[in-house]
């Protein structure tokens, strides 16, 4: 008998364009990006790394609330986002605030989301996205629906959703990719495999050697990508987008990455489940270091340019925090007003009680 599983698994090799030294190892797959595009990708990654550092510091000072660190995942998050267009719809997980910011969510609103203020969840007009999902996997079936909606409307746009390696264990993950396949939804499913679901290593999530191969069971395309290589992530997402809008169905992309920080800033201690060796091994693959070398070798990047981005990020974070501080305090009555299109009688009664309570 043929060993089907082995045959399938062996075909899911990790797709890479830039190796850890910043050398192009897959010239044929090199995406068609202008020098300015390449520099913009670098700016976004550096900016996001600084934003992460500042967010962690602000959280420690008690000036931010819920925060899931992003350092290490910049190539996965921003490389995939760079392949999108404004009309594409993002359904993020809770670590995917950077994609929302680059899709148009003002920074001060991202901070309000962290602080638990509902204005942080109000996407500005024209920003095609919803706020980060907290229930792992719930966004995946929804993304199948958005991608189907776009198909029904004949729109040249895709839905993209993000989850982690743990998310790929949820029932909704399988239902989502299966529905999308069955309906030919214009959807891209990105699993950022950062090796740990809080503390549980990916080896304990599944007997499957890759998450990408799960696409096979749903009858859709799947690819495993070096998630520390921004060009590979970009190229894979770009191709998935073209496939989706040309009617060739959804794609599952697994990006192999690592979060340097804790799961969230709410007391997770990664030293309980990760070794320093593993940390070092992954930091040697750093997406920014690698891409910087690549750009420097092309004469496209300098220390001054990097410092400019760092200064800009710091200034904008400062201004955004100030703006977040200036927002009116959130009230229970505000929340009552947005529960339904029209306030039902029973809630009207309760609203009066709270209005009185809040006026004191």
């Amino acid at each position: 008998m043929k060993r089907i599983l082995e045959n399938i698994e062996s075909q899911f090799e990790m797709f890479q364009i830039l190796n850890e030294k910043g050398e192009v190892v897959n010239e044929d797959a090199m995406p068609d990006l202008s020098d300015e595009d390449l520099k913009e990708i670098m700016r976004r990654m550096v900016y996001t790394r600084i934003l992460d550092q500042r967010s962690i510091a602000l959280n420690r000072q008690g000036r931010l609330g819920f925060y899931a660190p992003t350092a290490g995942q910049e190539a996965s998050q921003l490389g995939s986002h760079f392949a999108l267009e404004k009309e594409d719809f993002i359904l993020p997980g809770y670590r995917d605030v950077p994609q929302l910011i680059w899709h148009g969510l003002p920074l001060y609103q991202a901070f309000l989301f962290s602080r638990g203020h509902f204005h942080g969840n109000q996407m500005p007009e024209g920003v095609n996205a919803v706020s980060p999902q907290i229930i792992i996997g719930a966004q995946i079936t929804q993304a199948a629906g958005v991608g189907l909606g776009y198909k029904k409307r004949g729109q040249e746009a895709v839905a993209i959703t993000y989850t982690g390696d743990g998310g790929a264990s949820q029932g909704d993950f399988y239902e989502g990719i299966n529905f999308a396949g069955a309906f030919g939804a214009q959807t891209i499913f990105v699993v950022q495999n950062n090796q740990f679901a809080i503390s549980v290593p990916v080896e304990q999530q599944s007997a499957a050697r890759t998450i990408a191969q799960k696409a096979v069971a749903a009858g859709i395309e799947g690819i495993q990508v070096d998630g520390m290589d921004v060009l590979a992530v970009y190229a894979a997402t770009k191709e998935a987008r073209e496939r989706a809008i040309s009617g060739d169905g959804p794609t599952l992309i697994e990006t192999m990455t690592y979060r340097y920080g804790p799961h969230t800033m709410a007391g997770d201690d990664p030293t309980r489940y990760r070794t320093e060796e593993t940390d070092n091994e992954w930091e040697a693959k750093d997406p920014i270091v690698r891409f910087r070398t690549f750009l420097e070798n092309k004469g496209l990047w300098s220390e001054e340019e990097e410092n400019e981005v760092i200064d800009k990020a710091k200034e904008e974070v400062k201004a955004a925090i100030k703006k977040a501080d200036e927002q009116p305090k959130q009230k229970v009555t505000d929340l009552m007003d947005i529960m339904y299109e029209e306030l039902p009688a029973f809630l009207k009664e309760q609203r009066e009680e709270y209005q009185e309570k809040e006026s004191k």
Binding site: Q122, M123, A138, T141, G145, V146, K152, A182, I338, E341
Partner: protein
Amino acid sequence: MAQMTMIQAITDAMRTELKNDENVLVYGEDVGLNGGVFRATEGLQKEFGEDRVFDTPLAESGIGGMSIGLALTGFRPVPEIQFFGFVYETMDAINGQMARYRYRSGGTRPMPITVRSPFGGGVHTPELHADSLEGLMTQQPGLKVVIPSNPYDAKGLLIQSIRDNDPVIFLEHMKLYRSFREEVPEEEYTIELGKAEVKREGKDVTLVAYGAMVHTALKASEELEKDGIEAEVIDLRTVAPIDYETIIESVQKTNRAVVLQEAQKQAGVAAQIVSEIQEKAILHLEAPVLRVTAPDTVYPFSQAEQVWLPNHNDIVEKVNRVMNF
């Protein structure tokens, strides 16, 4: 005017809205070609095409989540959960997600979704087909829950539910699907959600009911009339939000009330109504407000369901207790 069963009225409501609004989509397991296991969507795929009326893979959570995605792209989905006992499979999509979306998006992402589903006892179904699970849904802020008791209401309420910009759980009692016909206008009309109807006027006791129990209440009222007790019967039609105004007004007149539900006793719609009556009308009451419900077990295997389900004798007995308090 045409004579229609409740299932025909439901089909007619969907046909009306599929015609009125190209954003309306009707789908679910066996909903397309087969027209639904109860034929609720009979002929709709043929009339409106596979793009608007279609079958889905067999996965309720997927149906729920996909509905949210379709609503995010401006559609007005009318998914079917084949039997409401299967709702547990999609509780996160409905209660955790759909119900909260308007709120979680700061009021920017409405969910104009109508989840239709058959439920209700007395028709010898296997496990998890007949359960009255409306109480689980009424506890969830953000959802409206509608339960019609007759063909006329079913059409008007379903059209209104589909037009509503908030998620509506529309529950159809299986026993009522084909139990009787009545006159239903062929043209479109709507019935406001959250408005009860007084089905029978009476001065002695108020019976509050919904779904199939409305008919049980009416049957009990006939019995009671023989003993000179005039019961007022209220059909809630919507169990979230509940029309407390109509209930309180009636109780202020009759001074006695018995609240009925096919669901188990604990923490249900009836318990909520009893609380509200004592909060708003305690000085009008001549007797404690009693409930007629099923006992607090899981829904029984079908051989025991006729005893398990509350019947008109149970109502008569409880009414006699409040009359003689």
